[in-house]
Symmetry: C2
Subunit: 208 residues, 2 copies
DNA sequence: TCGTTTTTAGCACGAACGTGCTTCAACACC
DNA sequence: GGTGTTGAAGCACGTTCGTGCTAAAAACGA
């Protein structure tokens, strides 16, 4: 019968090549030829697994979303397992929010790719559905996090939404700055900003 | 002598065409041919004013930075002219921060273009210098704003830097979301988030 | 050993890109 | 009115892109 190749693993390899190209040269350089070279394959081989360039990009977008979502779910479980107001919970929250930031090489690649696809989705309609899913997924996690940090505020649902969007915006801004101005936005500065934001969350909750 | 054409006005027209293309189709579509078409010129004419594609892009990046910086300086003067803690000051601050957001058509174009160039600068070295200038300029304004809102904190300079970066990150995140997920991040949500952030600034200052 | 089927490799076409270079038109000055 | 400088326009070349299509290569059952 056929030559046996683990198709799923191959697709994963190709997607990894896409990630590396986006991180180093930008999404617009992630052409079939570049991807094939990076993955040590021929263009025809890549096209055997992905019918078109668009399909490859959409699949890659979905892959990075799934990776991030998986990390967030794991981190959220840690937060839920920690005692409220405890230092363990604080560290768990910092760890969760750190999943958005380019704190190491692997996270940096994911952050680059995630940002690139989301911005590209504004222009390319094929990416719109995944961008929507990306936003919903992340917003759900951050929303649950806000609920954990602001217990017993069943009435002020408006504030929960606002605070969730505020935290989400801050995280995206931090990620942007860490990617675009790494000299200014160092890991320590990220940590300082996050700590300040979490403190502001607590005092805001207490003052209501 | 030569045919008299207001070269500066022509360059401005071309840059406006670049802005429109970036806002509607993305920076990668801002080729010489597209720009020339949009500006109702021939490719050769555009190249008469801008020696190369890179020069056109760098000039356009600088133009959007200057536009934003001008609006920010004007708005900052209003903030400085208002009485501390007054509603007028609050509105002036909201107005200043609103200059970052795509609250109307013109602001939306600027926001798109600004974001696109900053992200492109991560990849294209020719844009790096302007990206650096962009960050320094905006950070200076936001830093002064934080100093105005947190008077008499000469000791805690660390906190000022952290709070400035935090506000900057939040603004960039808000801008991103308003551009990428306009259904979720409406103008009202932007206003709510900003108000919450300003409240958190005040309570944080009071608690120290 | 021989097919059969998956995998890999490659060619060819049209489109779009930046850019070097040439050509035409227009206008202010002598 | 002639003339020379400058704006406007366009051609041509090499590159890169996506994609339809064909053909070789490889691996396993018969």
């Amino acid at each position: 019968m056929p030559k046996i190749v683990d198709a799923e693993a191959r697709r994963h390899d190709v997607v990894q090549a896409v990630f590396r190209i986006i991180a180093s040269d930008g999404l617009e350089r992630a052409s079939l030829r570049e991807v094939a070279d990076e993955a040590d394959l021929a263009v025809g081989s890549v096209r055997h697994y992905f019918a078109s360039s668009d399909e490859l990009l959409v699949f890659s977008f979905g892959a990075v979303i799934d990776r991030l979502a998986g990390r967030l779910e794991t981190a959220l479980a840690s937060v839920e397992g920690a005692a409220p107001e405890s230092p363990e919970q604080h560290n768990a929250v910092l760890n969760l929010l750190g999943q958005f930031l380019p704190l190491d090489e692997e996270l940096a690649v994911d952050a680059c790719v995630w940002m690139a696809f989301r911005h590209a989705a504004r222009i390319k309609p094929v990416l719109a559905a995944e961008a929507e899913r990306s936003h919903r997924t992340v917003a759900a996690v951050v929303g649950r996090l806000i609920m954990i940090l602001n217990p017993g505020e069943a009435d002020a649902q408006q504030n929960l939404v606002t605070e969730a969007e505020r935290l989400l915006a801050t995280m995206d801004g931090l990620c942007m700055h860490a990617l675009l101005q790494p000299e200014w936005m160092t890991a320590e500065m990220c940590s300082d900003v996050l700590t300040a934001h979490l403190r502001s969350l607590r005092t805001a909750a207490a003052s209501r």
